[in-house]
Amino acid sequence: MDIAFLLNGETVSLTGVDPTTTVLDWLREGRGLTGTKEGCNEGDCGACTVMVTDDTGTRALNGCILFLPQINGKTLTTVEGLASPTGDMHPVQTAMVEHHGSQCGFCTPGFVVSLAAGQIAGETNHDRQLAGNLCRCTGYAPIIRAAENAARRPVPKWLRELPPGPATGPMPNDFQPSTVAALAELRMTYPQATIVAGATDVGLWVNKQHRDIAPVIFVSQIEELRRIEMAPYMIRVGAAASVEALRLAIAPLHPSFAAMLDRFASAQVRAAATVGGNIANGSPIGDTPPALIALGATLQLRRGDDMREMPLEDFFLEYGKQDLAEGEFVEAVVIPRDSGPNRFRVYKLSKRFDQDISAVLGAFNVGVENGRVTSARIAFGGMAGVPKRAEAVEAALMSKPWTMETVREAKWAFAADFKPMSDMRASATYRLETAANLLERYFLDLEGQLTSVREVRA
């Protein structure tokens, strides 16, 4: 493929690039820019963090799971590009030195780029911005001191108006369609092609499993596929909308959903990963499907010119198998707007609070009128081979008085709904018992009781 982008202020044009060459490998091996490091090669440590700017703004991304065509027409800034043209260090860099924010220094370029990108994007929550940057030396305290210091200084003028890409724009490519219709046609021509949106999952197939995924169809450049429409009765989320875009859009309606998405991987991954990808790959531990199912979301699929819709839960047939025909792709997910006002909650359990894959994720949407349960949509991740509704639990609640007694009775129904497995994240016992306990947490939470260690202070 042919691509063009701005690299630290300079236009770079590459022809005939292998579509699965990562930005990290190209920077280090092709360009000799070795400030960006490989720590894990799977998007979990942040040592490879780079800054990408386009017409939607500036964000930090993991260079190890970012394919070169994904930055076609965009602006790439690496740690080497943060200093001023005359060599003055970026305020984040100065603060990191002054506050002893580096020890071994290997994670440091990633932290610096994350913080610089966060500063441009106006992110003031350093924990959220840095959840995807691991440091093994400092215990983070001095890095946060540096971040707080740097946050008091303005974005340096040389980064204030980064152009969104090279003047020439992106280079045209057959496998980077610009409309949904063109994608639909391309998908019919190449039904075996791998669709790459954010590459946060596919990147691992390439890096870790050495899979040959050609041909590759890139979709994130399709503006209409990224769109989130806030209509009066529904929210339509395009399949290529990033998880971060969903987080921002959903926050006013369902703060609990947004709070869970705060813990969805990391800033770098959320900015690349898409809602459609999180659904289409059919993972039983994807974090958006259970929440969307509990909200009564509908999935829109497209094959050529044909479109069909289904309740999201029906899409997941069994582990690794989705209701997706050859040539078909996920186009959007539609969330009813009136679903669960004030009563929707989603809880995520994992070994580590931030940037961890769920052991259990439970989403609850129980409607109550005159003290009795009138509707119940409860869905879980991590409890079966697919994201799954807790139908027996829902039935055990329906028409009952909404009391702790009902909740305790309904906990027995979890064993009828789920036979979870044991793995490195949690045992089957823990999953089943805590899933049931999350119903109790939901009840107490709605009652306004303290149920989360995150709300406790010393």
Partner: protein, 762 residues
């Protein structure tokens, strides 16, 4: 004078701009080759057939080597000669290297390595402590016991006897820079290696052995590591040796780095332990007699397991006088990756044992565990001996703990927590104070030596070199501060240079927290020698004795004469006075006989204490560290900023070990947590929200470099307070009187916390 100043890390500006070179960043010749291991898919078995034709035909492959192709010794071990570079006949753990691929790129080598077809006749692996005990699979032929007094006679005299057992998981180092080596062949057959290692000399020796060359034919250089934590003390041997062999075979430079998943699966980790204990106490909770059985899962080879297990035994007392004690250590051989050095080197596990005992006694007697700790402390005035016979001198912990409890308002918060817990059903809080007393010196006495090379150039600029390696701990900066202070010059006049076996030979690993103590002294001795020579030249010019010549503020002052340091350097050169000197240091006063477990293995002890407050949710086991207060003893600090950095980082790493960091092996011996997606080191938001760290105002009671103390390892053990605070919070779910002890195992993942809380509730 720069000693004592909170200067930033010397490489800080290079780190933050991405300019600092790590080995993978060093430009290499275009003909450089890249290596990858083909590994075992089973934990134990006999290799019956190997078909590597697909590997050889894979694009970019230049050569494929098996054990039979190695030119000389097939060994990467530190001493025991029990670790082949490539398996021969038998495989002894999952992911053990079997063959070596040499290819034109890192990816080509990895892709090819996955194509090997190795047939292995599987045998039942020995994976767990129980399986190893059942099979009597021991190193050293059986358990090792050290004791003092008469436990059997004393135990019946105790008013109460407390018994229990704790499982303590291992820990992956997760240095951000993975293992890496680059070997470049020289014109005469010599080999130069760049290696990310804490032990360049061992790499030199092992490469020499592998190529059957004398040590002088191998030069190893290490400028900086992207983290070590003990994981680069011996675990880099395999890559360095592989690179050297491949480079010798092909005549081309060869580089090898592990992909993260391979790194985590192939290399060793912190030893996981089970500690069974029995403690007899007086009615007040004073220790009468204690028995420990330490079960140590060592993995498939000896590596550093024996000294690690020794150090665990040497720290079984931590800060407490135990009149009668028996410590038995079971060093178990299993078909898992060979456990290795990790910050603390067995000390953390040993201390966990006795701190658990303190907690258990407090819980059982209904007393604050802090009181139990305080009444059992070694006496600070009347010198008492450790179980291994070393007098405990300079014991400042009673004063430190008192001061910390006061400044952090331990008593007030303990009461507030009790009140809070009475009013909250789902979330409970807990608090714990734990001390650490950590022995400083290598227990293998001859390792306690260091060399240095200091050069002053004719313009007055200085380079320093020593055997210590920089892994982020700030060693180079501390030692540069020592040199600058010695010469009375600014830090900008001192250039730090890469550790190099060609400059300073026969060095010890940068380990055992000894880096600044040993290398700082060696450099100071070299500086003193050059100063003496300078003083002998300029003293007579001012009619003063050489000893009266002063070096300060960039000047050399002799009586009423003053020169710039650079002028004196030039004068020395013109007067044919050598401006280069080596320096040497050997730690005094230490001796140790590990066969009987007696002696004076440590030059001194470093101390610290931490208070951690946590919250625990009984519905899910979710938990969180709320506040940490630390008071730590670094003697008279060489660099307080660097020392505080070690303390903060050490605490978080220690807390991570005991909370979220869980290593999971399946029943086939496959490590399931081999990537950061599944193995969870603390992330940014896991750091304590309130995190107060203070340095104890004091100085080392024995002569050390500017009376400072070692700081690398001791703070890691402060993290034990987080674990015991969780135990305290879990206990709050039980009845207030005569409740069962929480019996929490480590790591205290949400799952373990959940189950422990459930046990309290039922």
């Amino acid at each position: 004078m720069s000693v004592g100043k909170p200067l930033p890390h010397d490489s800080g500006p290079l780190h933050v701009t991405g300019a600092a070179y790590y080995i993978d960043d060093v430009p290499v010749p275009a003909n450089c080759l890249h290596l990858a291991f083909g590994t075992s898919h089973v934990a134990r078995g006999i290799i019956t057939a190997m078909d590597l034709s697909d590997v050889r035909q894979s694009p970019g492959v230049v050569a494929v080597l098996t054990a039979a192709d190695l030119p000389h010794v097939n060994d990467i071990s530190t001493a025991a000669h029990d670790e082949p570079l490539l398996a021969e006949g038998e495989v002894r753990y999952h992911m053990q290297p079997i063959f070596l691929v040499v290819a034109t790129s890192h990816r080509a080598a990895r892709v090819a390595a996955a194509r090997g077809k190795v047939e292995i006749e599987e045998k039942t692996p020995i994976l767990t402590i129980d399986e190893a005990l059942a099979a009597k699979s021991y190193f050293e032929g059986g358990p090792i016991t050290w004791s003092r007094g008469d436990v059997a006679a004393a135990m019946p005299e105790a008013a109460r006897v407390i018994e229990g057992e704790i499982e303590i998981g291992g820990q992956e180092h997760f240095y951000l820079e993975g293992q890496i080596s680059l070997a470049t062949p020289q014109d005469n057959g010599d080999m130069v290696l760049l290696t990310s290692t804490q032990h360049p000399t061992e790499i030199q020796h092992k490469v020499a052995e592998a190529l059957a060359l004398p040590f002088h034919a191998i030069r190893v250089e290490t400028r900086r590591m992207g983290g070590g934590f003990g994981g680069k003390e011996s675990q880099g041997n395999a890559l360095a040796i592989a690179c050297a062999i491949a480079a010798a075979a092909t005549g081309r430079p060869c580089k090898m780095r592990y992909d993260r998943d391979d790194d985590m699966a192939i290399t060793g980790k912190r030893h996981d332990f089970r500690i069974a204990y029995k403690a007899g106490v007086t009615p007040e909770g004073k220790l009468v007699a204690v028995e420990f059985d330490q079960f140590v899962r060592c993995g498939w080879s000896a590596d550093l397991s024996l000294p690690v297990a020794d150090r665990a035994m040497l720290h079984a007392d931590n800060a407490y006088f135990v009149p009668h004690i028996r410590i038995t250590s079971h060093r178990l051989k299993t078909n898992t990756a060979s456990a290795t050095a990790f910050r603390g080197f067995g000390g953390p596990q040993g201390i966990m044992g006795i701190e658990r005992v303190m907690d258990h006694i407090g819980h059982t007697l209904g007393r604050d565990p802090l009181e139990i700790r305080q009444i059992n402390f070694y006496n600070k005035r009347r010198v008492q001996e450790t179980p291994y016979g070393q007098p405990v001198r300079g014991f400042i912990l009673p004063d430190m703990v008192k001061a910390l409890a006061k400044t952090a308002d331990y008593a007030g918060r303990k009461a507030a927590i009790a009140e809070w817990n009475a009013g909250n059903d789902v979330v409970k809080k807990g608090i714990a104070l734990t001390p650490v007393k950590f022995g400083i010196s290598f227990t293998l006495t001859h390792l306690n030596q260091a060399g240095a090379l200091v050069n002053v150039y004719a313009d007055g600029s200085v380079t320093i070199n020593h055997g210590g390696t920089e892994m982020g701990q700030g060693l180079f900066q501390k030692v540069a501060q020592v040199a600058a202070t010695g010469f009375g010059i600014g830090m900008d006049r001192v250039r730090i240079t890469a550790t190099d076996t060609g400059k300073v030979p026969n060095t010890s690993a940068t380990a055992a927290s000894s880096g600044s103590d040993l290398n700082g002294m060696a450099v100071a001795n070299a500086v003193d020698e050059i100063r003496r020579r300078m003083a002998r030249l300029v003293g007579p010019m001012a009619d003063v004795r050489p000893k009266a010549v002063e070096f300060a503020r960039g000047k050399v002052i002799a009586g009423d004469k003053v020169w710039r340091f650079a002028e004196v350097a030039r004068m020395c050169h013109e007067n044919r006075v050598s401006l280069s000197s080596t320096g040497f240091y050997a730690t005094p006063e230490i001796s140790w006989d590990r066969t009987i477990g007696k002696g004076h293995p440590f030059y001194y002890f470093a101390h610290g204490a931490a208070i951690t407050e946590v919250a625990v949710d009984r519905l899910t086991g979710e938990n969180r560290i709320l506040r940490v207060d630390i008071l730590h003893d670094v003697g008279k600090s060489l660099n307080p900023a660097i020392d505080v950095g070690q303390i903060e980082g050490g605490y978080v790493q220690g807390a991570g070990w005991l909370t979220t960091e869980e290593l999971v092996w399946d029943h086939k011996g496959v490590l399931r947590t081999h990537a950061p997606s599944t193995y969870k080191i603390p992330a940014c938001s896991d750091r304590p929200e309130v995190f107060n760290v203070a340095l104890w105002d004091g100085e080392n009671h024995v002569p050390s470099i500017y009376r400072s103390k070692a700081v690398g390892e001791p703070p890691l053990m402060l993290g034990i307070s987080a674990f015991l605070a969780l135990s305290d919070a879990i206990g709050a779910f039980g009845p207030t009187e005569n409740g069962a002890y929480p019996d929490l195992d480590a790591p205290a993942t949400p799952e373990r916390v959940f189950h422990a809380a459930q046990r309290m509730l039922t």
